[in-house]
């Protein structure tokens, strides 16, 4: 038995290979091709700065994305797991190293103060509204899911806190969905309050009387939420639909995984540490087994 480095590498490669081969096959969240088999209709290909093991969020994009969320999406969608303080935490859109405690960050305080939060008066016990603080969660537009559905043609707008990681394709899927609205092909009957979107998973077979194969995609109850100049960006970026879609997709990605940057940075340190440890362990192994014939 000769035990050399090649063999250990081979063993590691087998392990890695097994896992990597299994990963995409079994329910992976593939980055390139979101769900909905609508290959070829992808509006614009979007590369996000946060993709890949070294990717980081583009702070300006997160700030713009927050504005789109706040002024457009939050009219229908809740985001109840995110708090104003998160906006000023490390990795967040408004993080400022001057304020170690995000609750002191003046930008965050001002954004929170913009909203009215339901509370109980501490002396009378009456329900009241008060100005938001950084400790508050983002307010929800509807009191409950039924009310939300009632105002949206029967479909509940999903909570956006985990939306990016709850869809295969993540931010790319959201971007494609927002950009993917188009005129239904002739022969496709779209019901009232429904919108054809080739990116939305579904089966439109029973509404199809046209020629050729059934079109890909499905009917979504959300009307196209974006339009050119729907928001006015503070950094004077031109607010095209594509820009808004990319920015809000990035913001949603951050919202569903706010510690992603810290995670990747820690990861590199851990990998370096383990690599050094592996080298030392291997050297000890060689030293200890030096005089053993095996």
């Amino acid at each position: 038995m000769k035990l050399d480095f090649r063999k250990s590498l081979a063993a590691a490669a087998v392990m890695a290979g097994l896992a990597l081969a299994a990963a995409p096959a079994f329910a992976a969240r593939t980055a390139e091709e979101p769900t909905g088999p609508a290959k070829g209709v992808r509006p614009v290909s979007g590369e996000f700065t946060f993709e890949g093991p070294r990717g980081q969020f583009d702070r300006g994009q997160l700030q713009r994305g927050y504005k789109v969320y706040k002024e457009v999406c939050s009219a229908c969608h809740s985001m109840s797991l995110v708090h104003f303080r998160d906006l000023g935490a490390p990795g967040g859109p408004f993080y400022d190293p001057k304020y170690k405690n995000p609750n002191d960050n003046p930008v965050v305080k001002a954004l929170a103060a913009d909203v009215q939060v339901a509370d109980i008066d501490t002396t009378t016990g009456d329900p009241i509204k008060r100005k938001g603080t950084p400790a508050d969660a983002f307010p929800s537009p509807f009191p409950n899911a039924i009310a939300a559905a009632a105002s949206n043609g029967g479909a509940t707008p999903p909570d956006q806190s985990t939306l990016a990681k709850a869809r295969e394709g993540g931010a790319r899927y959201i971007y494609s969905l927002l950009m993917g609205y188009r005129e239904p092909p002739a022969g496709l009957k779209v019901g009232p309050g429904q919108h054809y979107n080739p990116w939305f998973p579904g089966d439109v077979g029973s509404y199809w009387t046209g020629k050729g194969p059934v079109p890909k995609g499905g009917f979504i109850a959300m009307a196209p939420p974006l339009a050119d100049n729907r928001v006015t960006y503070d950094d004077h970026t031109k607010a095209t639909v594509a820009q808004e879609a990319a920015d809000v997709a990035a913001f949603l990605e951050w919202a569903s995984d706010p510690h992603a940057e810290q995670r990747k940075q820690t990861g590199w340190a851990v990998m370096l540490y383990l690599a050094i440890l592996a080298a030392l362990t291997y050297a000890s192994y060689r030293a200890i087994w030096k005089n053993v014939s095996h």
Binding site: M1, K2, L3, K7, S8, A11, A12, M15, A16, L18, A19, A22, A23, A25, F26, A27, A28, R29, P53, L81, V82, D86, P158, D159, S161, T162, K165, A166, R167, E168, P201, S256, P258, H259, Q262, R263, K264, T266, G267, W268, V270, M271, L274, A275, L277, A278, T281, Y282, S284, Y285, I288, W289, V292, H294
Partner: protein
């Protein structure tokens, strides 16, 4: 190596005092210096890796349980709070969630090692049986753990799997209600799954102890597969420490690197996106799939047209592992000396992998898209349904036909008498 002589000599007065009353240090030292076959290869490092996996799951699990709320209304949000608001909570949760996958990766390799080198044969049947018990307990633990975050897959997975019990004739419906704690998967189901998910790892810990005790008793197998007689011990074994602690240690660090790639750079790659949608009993996801490590069994289950039949086949597929020591008629342990059997074994691994592949697809999906094959009974031949059935047939055939038959029919290569006898030069090439 039950007759391994103790080499421990207590040096201080306190140690002597303790040694007469509770020889725990002697026990540890003896275990650490246990004579170990010198020819063990890297496939033997996965036992140590598994021990670490169990410890990692228990430690991270205990911390998660400090912050987790086992209630249908709060479970999902409490897991998200762990990831968002608990210091390093994202790391703890991702280590625990990916740790389950790493645990299964290691246990599958560990079991494949046992199959290939015949570690289940006399005198090691008990080690193997206890290992199968651990595997079963792991599957139960992981299944119940996956229910805890109470996402869409958690909930509907729990519905599908518990409902299988309802398919048992006569007693099924009663058992189903008893297990679910009501007439549907709900609050009581979640609470008992949490309780059991906390308990079972400690049961596993106990069985691991027995597994190692049995190992100690019947000695370790080795790549050549021959027993090491007492008089050959000097030539053929090395003390476990430091020789194998350092070798296991090296493999362990490589394993941790793979683990870290998942935890830090693709923490959700092995999970299912739908599980980040809070559980909604009224909305069934279009495609319910278990975690990757349970997919082969899920495939076998769905391959059988009758629900109860599927349950029987699924449990039988694990039952075969228990029966294997008595199904194998070959006296030769290591497949190094069984060239024909080695091929059947490699095919088994491929079959098992593709069973998992089938489990991830809908049964009526075509395997080769765009090809319309002929129909056979209840499905198209070009469908995952029929692929699953062929693969399942091989899986069962391997244990029930090939293994007993080959042992009687094959002519094995000459087996060396000792681990380090001259024939060994042949083995150097085969690792």
């Amino acid at each position: 190596m039950s007759d391994h002589e103790s080499t421990y000599v207590p040096k201080t007065g306190i140690e002597r005092w303790l040694d007469e009353r509770l020889p725990i240090i002697r026990f540890g030292v003896d275990y650490a210096t246990i004579p170990t076959p010198r020819n063990l290869n890297y496939w033997w490092t996965f036992g140590g890796i598994l021990a670490l996996c169990l410890v990692i799951q228990i430690v991270t699990g205990i911390v998660l349980a400090m912050h987790y709320t086992a209630s249908a209304d709060h479970a999902f949000d409490s897991v998200e709070r762990i990831m968002r608001d608990v210091n390093w909570g994202w790391a703890i949760r991702y280590v625990h969630a990916n740790g389950a996958s790493m645990f299964f990766l290691a246990v599958y390799i560990h079991m494949a090692r046992g199959l290939y080198y015949g570690s289940y044969k006399a005198p090691r049947e008990m080690i193997w049986l206890l290992g199968c018990v651990i595997f079963l307990l792991m599957m139960m633990t992981a299944f119940m753990g996956y229910v805890l975050p109470w996402g869409q897959m958690s909930f509907h997975g729990a519905v599908v799997i518990t409902n299988l019990l309802g398919a048992i004739p006569v007693v099924g419906p009663g058992i189903l209600t008893w297990i679910q704690g009501g007439f549907a998967v709900d609050e009581p189901t979640l609470k008992r799954f949490f309780s059991l998910h906390y308990l079972l790892p400690f049961v596993i810990f106990g069985v691991v102890f027995l597994h190692l005790w049995a190992l100690h008793q019947s000695s370790q197998n080795n790549p050549v597969g021959v027993l090491i007689p007492k008089e050959r011990r000097k030539q053929d074994t090395l003390p476990f420490h430091p020789y194998f602690t350092v070798k296991d240690g090296f493999a362990l660090v490589l394993f941790l690197m793979l683990f870290s790639v998942f935890v830090f750079f693709m923490p959700n790659a092995l999970g299912h996106a739908d599980n980040y949608i809070p559980a909604n009993p009224l909305q069934t996801p279009p495609h319910i799939v278990p975690e990757w490590y349970l997919l082969p069994f899920y495939a076998m289950l769905r391959g059988i047209p009758d629900k109860f039949g599927g349950v029987v086949v699924m449990f039988a597929s694990i039952g075969l592992l228990f029966a294997l020591p008595w199904l194998d008629t070959s006296k030769v342990r290591s497949m190094r000396f069984r060239p024909a059997m080695r091929w059947f074994f490699i095919i088994l691994l491929v079959v098992y992998f593709f069973l998992g592949w089938c489990g991830a697809h809908l049964p009526d999906e075509p395997v080769i898209p765009g090809v319309d094959g002929p129909d056979l009974f209840d499905g198209n031949l070009n469908s995952y349904l029929w692929l699953t059935r062929f693969l399942t047939a091989y899986y069962f055939g391997y244990f029930l036909v090939i293994t007993p038959w080959m042992g009687l029919r094959e002519t094995p290569l000459p087996v060396p008498e000792y681990v380090s006898s001259p024939v060994l030069s042949h083995d150097e090439k085969n690792g």
